[in-house]
Symmetry: C2
Subunit: 84 residues, 2 copies
């Protein structure tokens, strides 16, 4: 069975309740630069790559396993996986 290539985006965010000092700093700084009305700033990581798998379900399974073991710290981070 030949493998297909999938484009993957993994967005890694802090879990709710985990401090996000980068986001807090941006939010505090924007008004002093003249930008108003911005709230709820969070900063995460976006990891993009391509993966070879037999189908989309297999690709998602492999990426979920990668997230758990390597790409995220599941104690403080959540991952949202988008496959296209």
């Amino acid at each position: 069975m030949s493998d297909v290539t999938f484009d993957v985006l993994v967005e890694v965010k802090h879990r709710p309740g985990i401090a996000d000092p980068q986001g807090a700093t941006i939010e505090r700084s924007l008004p002093t630069l003249g930008f108003h009305g911005v709230s709820g700033v969070t900063v995460g990581k976006s990891i993009r790559f391509t993966v070879e798998a037999t189908d989309e379900a297999a690709a998602r399974g492999e990426v979920e396993e990668m997230c758990k073991r390597f790409l995220t710290n599941p104690v403080i981070e959540d991952a949202v996986i988008t496959i296209s």
Copy 2:
């Protein structure tokens, strides 16, 4: 005119040709953990927030200005703005 709230995602990526050591390290490490077929790994930032503006065009204009002045380093980074 009353303001509307927009959800914004800014994805900050290295510009083409700029070294991405985080991505290179992930790509090199995955095979040793048993994950094969992964290539083209890039690591960027995902910044999410809400912004108040009169309409979507105004929101996009403000976010583009924020990216240029504050959220990205335009010499080495590109930003992709998604507004919903």
